[in-house]
Amino acid sequence: MEHIVIIGNGISGVTAARHIRKLSDKRITIISAETEYFFSRTALMYVYMGHMKIEHTQPYENWFWRKNRIELKKGFVKQVKDASKELVFASGETMKYDKLIIATGSKPNKFGWPGQDLDGVMGMYHKQDLENLEKYAPNNKVCKRAVIVGGGLIGIELAEMLQSRDIPVTFLVRETSFWNGVLPAGESAMINEHIKEHHIDLRLGVNLQEIKADEHGKVKSIIIKETGEEIECTVVGLTAGVSPNIDFLKDSNIELGRGVKVNRRLETNVKDIYAIGDCAEQHEAIGNRRPIEAVWYTGRMMGETLAQTICGNPRDYNPGHWFNSAKFLDIEYQTYGWVFGERGRPAYEQHFHWKHPDKHICITVAFHKETKEFLGINTFGIRMRHHAFDKWLNEKRSVEYVLEHLADANFDPEFYKLHEKTIVAQFNQENNTNIQLKKKSWKRIFSY
C-alpha cells in the first residue's frame, strides 16, 4: 500500500490527510514535533486568555485519528533523503515514504536584533511559545511590562493576550499607522484609535534597536532605534511576520526560495514530494495573491487540492476569490475580493469609505474607476455574507449592483441595527447616483 507521509500536523497537513482518507485507502502518517494531536493555531491566544483549554482548540477528538486510520508520529524531521525516499528524525530513527507532503508551516521572523535570543524574548507561533509566555508573563507581578515588536495580526493578538492579564504593553510598529500596508488609511486610523483606547502604548513608525539583558541573561529593556528611548520590560514578543519553516530541507535536493518552491500542482522539483500551506512558495503568484500565503484558509485549500492530485485526479491549486478575516481586539474584520491600502494600490482602484459616526464600524468598497466593477470590500464591525460577495465577484457585478443588494449580504446577528441605508445614501451623495436599496430576499440569498 502506498505510504503517504505528511510532515506537519497543521491545518494544511491535516486537511490533506483527511481528504486523502476520504478518497483512498492509502497508508497515511502525519509527523509533528510540536504536539501529538492537531490543534488550531489560530486559537492559541484564547488558551492564554483563559477562554479555552488547549483541548478545546483540537477540532477532532483523539479517537478520530485511529478511526480514520491516520497514523500520528511525534518527532522532529531533521533530514529528507529524497534519493532513498527516507526521513531521518532528530532521534536518529528513520521512516520510509512513497509520497511526501511538506506542510511544516512557518516560524517567527527574527531580523538579527541584538539580544533576540535572550530569556524572555519569544515569538507567538508554536504551542511552545505559549508555554514560554505562561512562564515569563503569568501575571502582571512577574511581568511588569511587555514590548511587542511588529504590528501585524499576530502582534495585535499578542497585545490582546497580555492585556487580558492586565500586563502593560508597549507595541512597536514600524509603519506610520497600524497595518497600513494592507488597510486603507481610514480603517488603519480607526484601529490605531482602538488600540490606544485599550491603554496599549502604541508606538508608530519606530523600529527595535536592541534588546538588553540583565545579569542573568534575561530581558531587561529594549532600545528604540529612532529615539534611543529605553523601555524597561520583562518580556519581548517578536511578531514581525513569519517565514517558512524549512531549514531542515537545506541539504536536500528540493528547490527552496523563501519557501519550498512549488508549481500550481503543489509539486516540488523532486518527484513525489509536495509542499502545501505556509511553507509553500508558488513560482509565480496567482492573481493578486502573494507567492507565499501564510493564512489558514489557503493552507486548507491547498490540502484539499493536493489530496485530489495524490488520489489520481490531478488538479491545479486554484483558489477562488480572496477572502480573509481577523479581529483587532474588539473589532471584527472581514474582507472579500481585493481592497488595497495605500501601498500597491492599482491606479484604477477607487474606494468608497463609510464610517459610523461614533462606533467602530466602517466599510470600504473598492471598485474600478472606469468600469465601476466591484473589486472588493473591507468590513469592520459588520459581518457580511461570504456567499454573496463570492457570487458578485464571480459575476463581475458593478458597485451599484452590490450596494443595491447590500441587505442580502448582511450577516450580523438578529436585531442588530442595520446600516445599509445610510451607506447607500452616502454613496449616492458622493457619486451622484440614485441607488435604491433592495429589501433582503431569501430567494436571492439561496442563489448565492
Binding site: G50, H51, Y297, R300, N318, D330, H386, E414
Partner: protein, 617 residues
C-alpha cells in the same frame, strides 16, 4: 472601582454566610397560636387535639434550639394525635373499643359465632347499626361460617378500624414534608422571626447589593464592549475548581432541602414573609414562594450581568429581557395574583410536557372550578402545547421557548451563564443525550396518558375515584414517581445543582421532555438554522466551547455546513463568541437542501470554478 468590585464580592459572600447561618439560628416553640397557624385550614378539633397532646407530652411552649430536636418530638406528637383523634371519633360516630368488645361478646355463644344484624341492634344505637351492618353483612351471609371466635374478631376489628379511619380521616395528621414544614415554619421563634425585615436585608438585600456592586464595577473596569471571556478557564469558580465545587455543594443542598426537607429551611421562608405580605397581608410564605423569590432575584441580578456582558449584542439583550419578562410576570407575579381573583395560580407559559401535572385530576378540577376564565385557561394550556409550541418552533426554532420564554432556560441563561462552557462536547455525550432525553419524553407521555385517563374518569363520574389504574399503571403512583425522578431530581437537583459541574443546561439537554418534543420539530420541520459563513471558519473552537448544549458547532462550521440540531436552543452565544463572524441564527425558507446541505468544497476554493467558467464562455 477595583475596590468596589472586591467590596461587592465580600458583601455578597457575607450575605451567603448569613443566609446559610440562618438555618441554624433562632428557636422553635410550638404554641397554641402556632398550631392554629399551621393547621388553620383544618377543623378546630385538629388544632385542639394537637395542642392538648403537645401539652401532655411537655412539648407545648417548650423552646427548642434546633429544628431537628424539635422535629424529633413533633413526629411523636403526630402519632399520638392520630391515636387520640381516632379514639374520640370512634366514640362519637364510629365504633369504639368498648362497643367492639360488646359486639364480640354478644355474637359468640359458647365458643361458636352467631353474628347477625340483631346482635348489632342489641348493643349499638340505630345509626351505628346501619353503618356497621352495611360493611359487615357479608360476615353472616349464607355459606359464611366462622370456626373460631378469633377469626371472627379479626374480620370484625379490621372492618371497624377501616370505618373508624375513614371517619377520622379529616382529623388525622400525616407525617410528611408538608406537615413538617407547616409546623416548623409557624413554630419558629426568636431572632429571625422577630427581625424578618432585618434578615431579609442581611441576606437578599446584601446579596443583591454585593453582586450588583461586583457586576457594575466590572463595567467601569472594562468599559469597551466586546466578548470578554478572559480568565474563565483560569478561574476556580468557572473551571470546576474548588469555588465551583463549593457552589455545586450549596446548590445541591439547597434543592435537596427545598424538595425533600423543607422544614429544615423554614427560617428562609420566614425571611421572605414580608414580601409575601405584599400579595396577601400577613400571609406566610411557603417554600415555593421562597424559591420563586430566589429564582427571580438570581435571574434579575444575573440578567443585569448579561445586559452588561453582551451590551454590544442586540440579540442577547433582547433575549435576556424577554426571559426576565416571562419569569417575573408569568412565572412569578401572575402565579401570586391569579389566586387573589379565585383563578388557578398557574404559570400560563409553562407548556406540557414540561408542566407534567397539567392533566392531573386536582389541576383540571382547579381549572374547571374557576368558571369561564378557568376553563379558558385550561383550553389555553392545551392549545399552547399542541398548536402554539410546534407552530412557533416551525417558524423560529425551539429557541422561542428555550431561550426567550422558559423559566428553566431563563435561569440557565442568567445564573448559569458563567458555567456554559462546562457542557460536554464529546460525541459520546451526544449519544447519551439521545438515550436520556427521548426516553424521558416517552415516560412523560405514558404518565400523561394514564393520569389523563384517570382524570377524565373522575370528572365524568366522581364515583370512579379509587379506581385509578390504566394499562396496569396507577395514575397517582406514576405521577408521583415522575415528579420525584424527573421533576425534582433531574430538573432541580441535577439540572440546576450541577451547573458548576455539567454546565448550565444539563436538564434542557439530557432531560426536558418539552425540549425533546420541540427538538424533533426543529430537526425535521423548521425554518430555523444556524448559517455558516462560507469558508470563514478558522476552527478556533470558541463556538463549541461556549455552546451550553454541548453541540460541536465547529465541526459543522469548518465544513461549511449549517447547524441543524434538535438540541440547539438558539441562545446565539456561538454566534456571539465567534471571532470571525461565521455563524448566524436565521429563519429562512425550509426547502430541505438550503438547510441541510453539506458543500462538496468549502467556499473559497473553487476547484472547478475555472473549468466551469471556461465552459460557460
Amino acid at each position: 472601582m477595583k475596590f468596589i468590585r472586591i467590596a461587592g464580592l465580600y458583601i455578597f459572600i457575607a450575605s451567603v454566610v448569613v443566609f446559610s447561618a440562618t438555618v441554624f439560628m433562632g428557636t422553635y416553640t410550638l404554641s397554641e397560636a402556632s398550631i392554629k397557624g399551621s393547621f388553620g385550614g383544618k377543623d378546630v378539633r385538629v388544632t385542639e387535639t394537637f395542642a392538648a397532646v403537645a401539652k401532655e407530652n411537655g412539648v407545648l411552649d417548650k423552646t427548642y434550639n434546633s429544628q431537628f430536636t424539635f422535629m424529633n418530638d413533633v413526629v411523636g406528637l403526630f402519632h399520638k394525635h392520630n391515636k387520640r383523634v381516632s379514639e374520640a371519633v370512634a366514640e362519637e360516630t364510629g365504633i369504639s373499643t368498648s362497643e367492639t368488645d360488646k359486639i364480640i361478646v354478644a355474637a359468640s355463644k359458647s365458643g361458636k359465632v352467631a353474628y347477625t344484624k340483631e346482635v348489632l341492634q342489641s348493643v349499638l344505637p340505630e345509626a351505628k347499626v346501619k353503618m356497621l351492618d352495611g360493611a359487615t353483612n357479608w360476615m353472616y351471609s349464607p355459606g359464611k361460617t366462622y370456626d373460631s371466635v378469633d377469626a371472627f374478631k379479626n374480620d370484625l376489628t379490621n372492618k371497624i378500624n377501616e370505618i373508624n379511619r375513614s371517619q377520622a380521616g379529616n382529623y388525622l395528621l400525616y407525617d410528611n414534608k408538608y406537615s413538617r414544614f407547616d409546623i416548623t415554619e409557624r413554630a419558629a421563634t426568636g431572632i429571625i422571626s422577630d427581625n424578618k425585615v432585618l434578615f431579609l436585608f442581611l441576606t437578599f438585600g446584601l446579596g443583591i447589593i454585593g453582586s450588583l456592586m461586583f457586576i457594575i464595577a466590572g463595567l467601569f473596569l472594562k468599559p469597551i464592549p466586546g466578548i470578554k471571556n478572559n480568565g474563565i478557564y483560569l478561574n476556580n469558580a468557572t473551571n470546576r475548581g474548588w469555588v465551583g465545587i463549593a457552589a455545586f455543594g450549596f446548590l445541591v443542598a439547597f434543592y435537596v432541602l427545598l424538595y425533600f426537607h423543607p422544614y429544615i429551611i423554614a427560617n428562609w421562608t420566614n425571611i421572605v414573609d414580608p414580601l409575601k405580605g405584599f400579595f396577601i397581608e400577613g400571609a406566610s410564605a411557603s417554600q415555593w414562594f421562597l424559591y420563586g423569590i430566589l429564582y427571580c432575584v438570581s435571574m434579575i441580578v444575573m440578567g443585569i450581568r448579561m445586559f452588561i456582558k453582551y451590551r454590544h449584542n442586540q440579540y442577547q439583550v433582547v433575549r435576556t429581557a424577554s426571559v426576565l419578562f416571562f419569569q417575573i410576570i408569568f412565572a412569578f407575579l401572575l402565579v401570586e395574583i391569579l389566586p387573589l381573583f379565585d383563578l388557578p395560580g398557574v404559570d400560563l407559559k409553562n407548556a406540557w410536557p414540561l408542566d407534567y401535572n397539567f392533566l392531573t385530576d386536582w389541576n383540571v378540577k382547579n381549572y374547571l372550578a374557576a368558571g369561564h376564565l378557568g376553563k379558558f385557561m385550561f383550553f389555553w394550556g392545551i392549545i399552547l402545547s399542541i398548536i402554539i409550541v410546534p407552530t412557533l418552533v416551525y417558524f423560529y426554532g425551539k429557541r422561542w421557548y428555550c431561550s426567550w420564554v422558559c423559566g428553566c432556560g431563563g435561569l440557565a441563561e442568567t445564573l448559569g451563564d458563567p458555567y456554559r462552557q462546562l457542557s460536554d462536547k464529546r460525541l459520546i455525550a451526544w449519544r447519551i443525550e439521545r438515550w436520556t432525553i427521548y426516553p424521558t419524553l416517552i415516560f412523560a407521555i405514558i404518565m400523561t396518558v394514564v393520569v389523563g385517563y384517570n382524570t377524565y374518569n373522575i370528572i365524568n363520574d366522581p364515583a370512579n375515584i379509587g379506581n385509578s389504574t390504566f394499562l396496569g399503571i396507577n395514575a397517582y403512583k406514576i405521577n408521583e414517581w415522575y415528579g420525584f425522578l424527573i421533576g425534582s431530581i433531574f430538573a432541580g437537583v441535577i439540572g440546576t445543582g450541577f451547573y458548576p459541574i455539567l454546565g448550565n443546561r444539563s436538564w434542557c439537554r439530557f432531560g426536558c421532555p418539552l425540549a425533546a418534543y420541540m427538538g424533533i420539530v426543529q430537526r425535521f420541520k423548521s425554518r430555523f438554522r444556524i448559517t455558516t459563513n462560507g469558508g470563514q471558519c478558522i476552527s478556533c473552537g470558541n463556538c463549541s466551547t461556549y455552546c451550553e448544549q454541548g453541540i460541536d458547532v465547529r465541526s459543522y462550521a469548518q465544513k461549511g455546513q449549517n447547524i441543524v440540531r434538535s438540541s440547539c436552543v438558539g441562545c446565539g452565544i456561538c454566534s456571539a463568541v465567534c471571532p470571525r463572524g461565521v455563524l448566524k441564527l436565521e429563519n429562512g425558507p425550509d426547502d430541505g437542501a438550503t438547510r441541510h446541505e453539506i458543500p462538496e468544497v468549502i467556499l473559497g476554493n473553487d476547484v472547478n470554478l475555472f473549468e466551469m467558467l471556461e465552459e460557460n464562455k
